[in-house]
Amino acid sequence: MDVKILGWDTKGLRLPDWKINLDDNGGKKTSLIMMPSGMGKTTTLSLLRYSFCDYSKIIEKKDILALQRPKSKITKGEFNLNIKINNAKYRIKTIFDFSNKTLSYKTTDPESGQKDGLNLPEEIKKYLDQEYIEKTFFDLEVVQKLFESTSAIDSINKLYKLYYFNQIGNNLDTYLIKKQDESGSGKIDKKDLIELKHTRDKLLKKEKQLRNEYEINNKKFENLKINKSKYSKIINDIENSKKSIKDKIDQARENISLAKNDLKDSFDNFYTELKNPMLINKDFKKKLINFESNLNSLKIPESVGKAFFDDLIKSNQCLCGHAMTNKMKDKIIKNKESILSEDTWLILSVLKSKIKEDSGKEILDLSKSLSLIAKSKRNLNIEERKADEIVGGIDDKKYQDNVKKLNETNDQLNDLNKFFQKYLEAPSKQDTLEDNSINKIGNLLKITMDKINEATETGNISDKIKLIKDIFKDTENKSLNFITNDLVEKINKEIPRVMPFEKIFVKDIKDKIVLDGRDSASAGQLARIGYLFLITLLARPNFNFPFIVDSPVTGMDEISRSEIATTIATQLNNQYIGFVLPLERDYFADVLEENTKNKVNLLVAFDTFDDETKRLVKLAKQYSVDTREFVDGVVSVNNKDFFWNFTVSKG
């Protein structure tokens, strides 16, 4: 399945009413659209995302209003996207109603003409959910997430359709439930079966609700972690910029660390003392010594005693020289029962030696250890308060805001951690429907399903489903292993090319991308690895979908830019559209051109909403660009001179 974007036009939005045409005839699969900052790169990326999967129910009202042209009375806007799917042309109209804050679609396809709704072929609809679109139409934040969250493994699951196994498994479960509901009560009372089915439905609902909550919380958690590192970095930068404050904070943190160690030591010490009850109470010590001396007068161990008494019974006379009578033999047989067993004897021996060892030691004063704990805790509180005072005393709004945000983020992360802990709690006998553990609910569901299967005689179907799910799980795990190993191998093969000076290899992909021998790398280095990951991933499945990137090389050095361009030109089979700033042009656009033999669409687009842009219009005219084609914007397509000489700065 091959999907290609041919172009788009906009009407009544915050972007100019213009038309962007990506020349499809010249076999150019790569396009760079250069726009000055703040002129709609991110907005266009959002509009492209909205066109490929149905956002009408998930888009937030604020995101619709963000597309409205400022100070405009226009109540409706539209974005029209022209695409080609396996050589058939489609037009997707996304309509934004700013009065009602809604979004709707109309689709024109070659067979049925224009119809309401987003009507793409079923086969591509399966891929195109919000998550997939946000992976393939991305900015550098998405690349960053590949190293911080479960985003890398999620992408693999999505692109390789490993989630199919789970979806088919759900269909099998639905079939089983349908069969259970169709069957009679069979072995149990009808009322009891109804009750069981009622419980089953509640458990299924609860299971679904918990999984949804987990998904949402997991995403929240990943975003919070990213925010946390963002706030921490700002705080660190400000602290480092104010050296005297930094020294004070460093000292305060050092003191907190020492106080924490003291507190830990005093707890350890107290615990060691508690482990020796003989030395914490005089009376107890006396009793234990007494116990030990009594043990000495007790019986000999079984291994020694049993053989001795057996021999004695067989002999003709006792040890004392008296002739052995039957009455004496009976007495010995009866009394030998009281010999200690070997196990008991071993335990008592350990106790005996420990009591003997400690009997000479002095009784400990526990109150001293307790006072030490209280003192260490007090010291820690004082040091923490001092640190808070230093931080609170920094007269910097940005700093305080970020400290506040960081504290709030930490609280939210703690709450989510509690949720995850509960979510993973193991089943027990006391579990109820009110529990929030997926394992507990799963176990209750299994018990209920087993009972219903028995009553409705659907056990055979249930067993088959278990077997199929087992096959699927095994296939999924082995496939994931195979794909990640293959990806790691392919990425690492390219590393010497994209990182000629400092090679950073990928060790594994376990949820996120794990680097070999290091925790992180610079933004440019991570971006190069992230690009390799996404390109390698996108190049594999039999689904050729455009790759759209907002500000693809922003903030990167010359090597990173040119190596990313080489990767796009030589490794990516999919259509590539990059929204670039003029600053990103050098060492990127030229390398792309060189490596694709000039098969790159070079576009420049800017709005003419305010007087500031008059200079840009003048510049466009100098390069023979038609500046009258659109009322409030200018688009230049494949005017290379203009592309290379376009500059936003006045100098």
Partner: protein, 53 residues
């Protein structure tokens, strides 16, 4: 069929390792393929689960 062929190979290997009946494996593969093509799989599921073999 657009599911990655390497995954199908792994699926076949898993079925072989688990000594799954070839007929059962074939029907199961058909379900995966139909799901991949966006077809309704309820009838296939019924055939697979209710086959008395």
């Amino acid at each position: 069929m657009s599911i990655d062929p390497s995954i199908l190979q792994i699926f076949k290997k898993v079925c072989k390792d688990k000594k799954i009946d070839p007929g059962f494996e074939k029907e199961l593969q058909k379900i995966i393929e139909n799901w991949d093509e966006g077809k309704d799989i309820e009838k296939d599921i019924k055939n697979l689960l209710e086959d008395k073999k």
